[in-house]
């Protein structure tokens, strides 16, 4: 591979899509497979500009089904491979991602959410939470990081590759069209300079030696003959997933475990929620903030602690309760009353959140 992509730590000014391309480069991603869709296009544009200079590769496929399956293939060949999509592209990609889930392929997928259902709007929503966390005909055995800033887009794109290859579950960075197009500064760095070691890749297929003689044969299956066979394999996958969960579940919070009202938001909406909570706390209100960084798996023990201590939880999202459903499952039986501020497909400002909190405190 060519010399280090990022020689020294540097503050730069970029759009979110570019940040993802640079993050993937810094994470030593070797190939992107992709099919264009707004608002993720510039991930592809920048990757294709950066790839030749850095000895990386790109394949534009005929659609998202193919982009997903070629990503699976790249991973099986031992390549640190990724793809990016949005909206109806994400819908199509659930088929290959289900296969990745079945075969435990460490694919990395960047999702820049746009409005739904269907083609809807090109720019923004948080309506791909259900699809990204639980889509496909599987059991949602994925890791989904929801970012809020350009710095996080860089950090978590790098992290996504490591999580995927370490635990072998399909991993997502879930952002949105606002983050994709917005411009702000961030610090780019060489992961090694921060002590981040890139988890090594290895091919699933085409290894040396005769299978069954020189090495264990690889069985990478998405088809089973009998129900019991599938059942047994899934039990192993669930066990691996549960073992991984405390190691990967992440959240951020402000006073969430000692406040009577707690605002829960994720992604770009969490920026507004955090600002609103900080304002209200400065005025002396007993309000806390909780932001799941991983939407799958959620930080369940911490959420339950919050939901057993608070009187009221206000869930704020640019969807009609897609995160809310995940939260309700996680905190089932806890005592807090669940309230909501849902604006599907529309941005939510700190002022709106602050006004809603004032109504309920």
């Amino acid at each position: 591979m060519a010399e280090k992509v990022i020689q020294e730590e540097k503050r730069v000014f970029m759009t979110g899509n570019e940040v993802v391309a640079w993050g993937a480069l810094a994470a030593n991603a070797e190939i992107m497979y992709g099919y264009p869709i707004t608002p993720q296009n510039e991930i592809m544009h920048y990757w294709t500009r950066l790839a030749p200079k850095n000895e990386r590769e790109f394949l534009q496929t005929e659609d998202e089904l193919s982009a997903g399956f070629t990503t699976n293939g790249g991973v099986m060949a031992g390549r640190r491979a990724f793809t990016a999509t949005a909206g109806p592209g994400n819908t199509l990609m659930q088929e290959p991602i289900s296969m990745a889930e079945a075969m435990r392929l460490p694919t990395v997928t960047i999702v820049q959410q746009r409005g739904g259902p269907s083609t809807a709007t090109v720019i923004y929503s948080q309506q791909e939470v259900t699809l990204t966390t639980l889509g496909g005909n599987g059991e949602g055995l994925r890791v989904v990081y929801s970012t809020a800033t350009h710095q996080e887009l860089f950090d978590y794109t790098i992290k996504a590759f490591n999580t995927a290859w370490k635990y072998r579950f399909p991993t997502f960075v879930l952002a949105d069209g606002y983050q994709a197009k917005m411009r702000e500064s961030l610090v780019m760095y060489d992961p090694a300079s921060k002590g981040i070691e890139m988890f090594p890749t290895e091919p699933f297929v085409g290894k040396e030696g005769t299978p069954g003689v020189d090495r264990e044969p690889g069985h990478f299956r998405n088809t089973y003959n009998v129900e019991e066979e599938l059942y047994d394999v899934l039990q192993e996958h669930f066990a691996d997933y549960n073992k991984m969960t405390p190691e990967v579940a992440e959240y951020k919070e402000i006073g969430s475990k000692e406040s009577k009202v707690v605002v829960i938001a994720h992604g770009v909406v969490a920026r507004g929620a955090k600002a609103a909570v900080e304002d209200l706390r400065a005025e002396g209100f007993n309000v806390g903030f909780f932001r799941p960084v991983t939407l799958r798996p959620l930080a369940v023990p911490e959420l339950r602690e919050v939901a057993n201590n608070a009187d009221k939880i206000l869930v704020v999202e640019s969807a009609n309760g897609q995160m809310d459903r995940l939260l309700k499952e996680a905190i089932y039986g806890c005592s807090a009353e669940m309230l909501s501020l849902f604006k599907p497909g529309v941005g939510i400002t700190a002022e709106e959140i602050e006004a809603r909190v004032r109504e309920i405190v």
Partner: protein
């Protein structure tokens, strides 16, 4: 007549908008600002068209309700924009990004023959693709005919004088190698004042009021 071109998110539109307003404020009666970005739906003049017109500028840009499939496909070039170079007074073009964006000029009537059209490349050294003197030279060489450079080095809300001055040095060196003038450095009003309206290389500083942050969509 001036056209502003450059890297994605270099600040072309912000520099173009402020240039048009400055000219108007200097007493030029007829100042026309033209949106020639027919690809990118975000951070264009469309959302601030009415605000700029209320200041006294002529603004040739789509209004959101007139567009079809905004952001999903490219925009159609407005007929009025196609004839922008035939207008009286000052004409400021805000052109789409990159070398491909600069080709939008080919769609304008009279662009090839127009001798008074000056194309200025806006450079921000905090953009990774134009972060070194070599990168800037290579980038500008890929743009076709250009007449000068603008140093618009910044970090958004995190901008300080250091990045502007570092940009002034780097873009000056690149300009020298390209045989082009560095026309000006651009900086938000407050920092421009602190710099006493000259950068460290002696170039004039244009003060910017930021209009573009509210044009995300």
């Amino acid at each position: 007549m001036e056209g502003y071109i450059g890297e994605y998110a270099s600040g072309k539109s912000e520099v173009a908008v402020n240039r048009a307003i400055d000219l108007f404020n200097q007493g030029h009666q007829d100042v026309t600002l033209v949106d020639l970005d027919i690809v990118e739906p975000c951070y264009t003049l469309r959302p601030i068209k009415n605000e700029l017109q209320s200041l006294g500028l002529h603004v040739l840009a789509w209004e959101t309700r007139e567009t079809i499939g905004l952001g999903e496909a490219g925009n159609v070039l407005r007929a009025e924009n196609k004839w922008a170079l035939r207008r009286d007074g000052d004409v400021i073009l805000d052109i789409g990004y990159g070398a491909e964006g600069a080709k939008t000029l080919n769609l304008l009537e009279g662009a090839k023959e127009e001798e008074n059209l000056h194309l200025l490349v806006v450079v921000n050294i905090a953009r990774p693709m134009t972060a070194t003197v070599n990168d800037i030279v290579e980038y500008v060489n890929g743009m076709g005919t250009v007449h000068g450079l603008i140093n618009n080095s910044h970090l958004g809300d995190d901008t300080d004088i250091d990045i502007i001055q570092e940009g002034a040095q780097m873009v000056s060196q690149a300009a020298k190698r390209l045989g082009l003038p560095l026309v000006a450095t651009a900086a938000v009003q407050e920092l421009a004042e602190q710099m006493n309206w000259r950068d460290c290389m002696g170039n004039p500083v244009r003060g910017l009021k930021r209009y573009m942050p509210c044009t995300l969509w």
